[in-house]
Amino acid sequence: MSSFNPKNMSTPERRRFRGLITMLVLSIFALIVFAYLPEESAPVTYGFVLGGEWILLKEWIIDSKTASTLFAVLALLTTALSIALFKLKRSSRIVSFIFGSTFLMSFLSWAASGKFVPFTGLLQGGLLLSVPLIFGAMAGVISERSGVINIAIEGQLLAGAFVSGVLASLFANNWIGLIFAPFAGALIAVLLAVFAIKYGIDQVILGFVLNVLVIGLTNFLYKKLLIPYQSEWNSAIAFAPIEIPLLSKIPVIGPIFFAQSIIVYLMYIVVTLIHITLFKSKWGLRTRAVGEHPTAAESVGINVNRLRFKNVILAGAIAGLGGAFFTLGAVGSFSKEMTAGKGFIALAALIFGRWSPMGAVAAALIFGFADNLQGLLTIIGTPIPSEFMLMAPYIATIIAVSGFIGKVRAPAADGIPYKRGGGSR
């Protein structure tokens, strides 16, 4: 029987070992704090019905202490399963996901004791909140896989939100706003591309400064034009949700995925396209080559800088489209700095997801769900101050980036300007 001696393990094994210890500690924590300690316990009601979908189960009422204990035990079992897998030198992401879910459910049952939890609504809102994150992360994937760091996602989202809201209002037509949103993001991306690729300016600084520029411009125009002339410049109304026939009736899944606005459906298409083309098309292969080893790419005839240029602009367009979500996909009118740092969270999701499209989407969904959960808990009232829950995604990102649960490796040539003829810098 092999011993668990950390010194004998390879680095990835050691990391997985650390992950297992974390799971064990968390499960025991859940057992003690959520299940054992609470003195009183009231029934938690999980509601599963949202609107007009078919009803499989209307609601689930369970005593909070029972539920917490149940889920904590399940978490412990999942941990045991993970340990078994580890010994067999295998690992499974699904098992980790199950662990996360059970721990979360244990926590939720504890926190929402005596309250009503609109479960389907929670998931639906979570998806909604992760839409800009997903768009931003997709923009980041394309740009960074080509080797250009894109900190300006925040600015591109904001520019898209501004342009789509204003144009939709000026022309009283949401579609015009939606069509021009990507152009706004692309415009910012052009600045990024020119300064980063042509002049070789540091991409982190550049992205940051571009964000400041967009914030300044949109704030300025907001105060100068959008507020005084609101009915003309800022009175757009968001897209109404479109329910896909039949699919939107499926219990739980239907309302979450198939009863959203057009922007969300566009997002499904964008994510699928990017995932397929990045790994299965010529463009995808060239993009990845240019981001990992530009010298080798050039030697087979790829124009590195031109491809990077095009990709950065494409990324900006995607982020701009995601920006339209804030206005046309949510509240309709534009307000100052309405992206509120979501661009940076998208970047965090990208890193969390190891620079892969599906990984970034998964991370973004987690962040969006956590954000929505935090909002719900604040409304129904919980023991934990809301500010700490708001902090959670940021702390989670720091943990992820520090490689505690797995080393993150950016594309090798990410952030380094390329000079023709080989040799960067």
Binding site: Q203, V204, V209, L213, G216, L390, G403, F404, A413
Partner: protein, 383 residues
């Protein structure tokens, strides 16, 4: 030689002011209404932009309208400029120092907040004799913010976590922490329900320099002293040499026997302490009470200040004064001419962009060459 170094920033500023002036003029409906008549449109544009920039000057340097009690009364804006610039000098130094070591300290905002919290707490909780109290408050700020920054450096040194992401995240954490603190009993002022902490006691405040009518306080001396200290650190000390070596080429430094890990951690501790000192000076000298807006835009501005100052302590001081003037004057500009304060952000961003791409300035002014300073070294996530 100095003239060569400041030629680019000054020209960049002129172009930035010009472009912003265009924005101010042509976003005004009164100007746009004169579309058919180019001459009067031009005249109107000139008058609108001119009025805005005159208000900017009045708000930052000298205001004749306030000079009814004599010449010195009109210098109130100048005192405001210095008050706003003081924390900027410190946060700018924080970012500039980190730059020299090859690190991006985007976290000056969070470190500033942490320092402000520390100074504020010591300021209103303890009763100490007059100078001791100030020193204690400042020490608390430097310690807490130094740890906050050092954590980033340590993380980078041990795990390679990129400081840009970690510091941006920590900024938000600090912001939310402040939000929470201002809702707890310990930090809420008696009798008030809005999130404002008790005022720091008189014994801890930094003395005023120009009478009670002016907000000018001795924090400016602290800031200038810090600039001198950082200059000495970078140019005359072994530690500073190590910082600069690691910043120039980490691999070579490691080969030469310099511990990159220790340098990274050390520089972030000092950078954090500087930003925290900025927070302390701001609380003890100007605002006297902690609010949610204490961070203001100091962290943001610190980066543009450091970039404009080309990473040198003297440059940082001058840049901080300039951007401080823009901020202070911007308030007056917003009040008198309805020009939103955010134009200052635009000017700042444009100035930095032009400095980053000297080619643009060169072609505008047909210069043969321009001292481009230390090229902003491009680094990836992995290094």
């Amino acid at each position: 030689m100095i003239f060569e170094k400041i030629k680019l920033p000054i020209l960049a500023l002129i172009v930035a002011l010009f472009v912003s002036g265009l924005l101010i003029a042509f976003s005004d409906p009164k100007v746009l209404a004169l579309k058919g008549d180019p001459l009067s449109m031009f005249a109107k544009a000139l008058s609108i932009a001119g009025a805005a920039y005159w208000a900017l000057f009045r708000g930052s340097i000298y205001d004749p309208q306030l000079a009814d009690t004599g010449f010195f009364g009109g210098l109130y804006p100048l005192s405001e400029t210095i008050v706003v610039s003081t924390p900027l000098i410190l946060t700018g130094l924080s970012v500039a120092l980190a730059f020299k070591a090859g690190l991006f300290n985007i976290g000056a905002q969070g470190q500033f907040i942490v320092g402000a919290i520390g100074a504020s707490y010591v300021g209103f909780t303890f009763e100490l004799p007059i100078v001791l109290h100030t020193v204690a408050a400042i020490a608390a700020a430097i310690l807490s913010a130094g740890l906050y920054g050092g954590f980033v450096g340590l993380l980078k040194a041990r795990t390679g976590a990129h400081e840009v992401i970690v510091t941006i995240m920590l900024n938000y954490v600090a912001g939310y922490f402040l939000l929470w603190l201002l809702s707890t009993k310990a930090f809420l002022r008696e009798g008030r329900f809005d999130p404002i902490a008790p005022e720091v006691l008189e014994s801890s405040r930094l003395p005023r320099l120009a009478g009670q009518d002016f907000r000018l306080h001795s924090g400016i001396f602290i800031a200038l002293l810090a600039a001198v200290a950082i200059w000495w650190l970078l140019n005359r000390s072994t530690l500073g040499f190590k910082f600069r070596a690691v910043g120039a080429n980490a691999k070579a430094s490691r080969t030469a026997g310099i511990s990159v890990a220790k340098s990274t951690t050390a520089v972030m501790v000092i950078a954090g302490a500087l930003a925290g000192l900025g927070g302390a000076v701001h609380i003890l000298g100007a605002d006297h009470a902690l609010t949610n807006e204490v961070g203001g835009s100091f962290g943001f501005d610190a980066i543009t200040v450091a970039l404009l100052g080309r990473g040198t302590p003297l440059g940082t001081v001058l840049a901080a004064l300039l951007f401080g003037a823009l901020r202070a004057g911007g308030l007056t500009m917003q009040a008198s001419t309805e020009t939103p304060l955010d134009i200052v952000l635009i000017i700042q961003a444009l100035v930095v962009l032009f400095i980053a791409a000297p080619a643009v300035i060169k072609s505008i002014f047909r210069l043969k060459s321009v001292d481009e300073g230390q090229a902003m070294a491009s680094k990836g996530w992995n290094g």
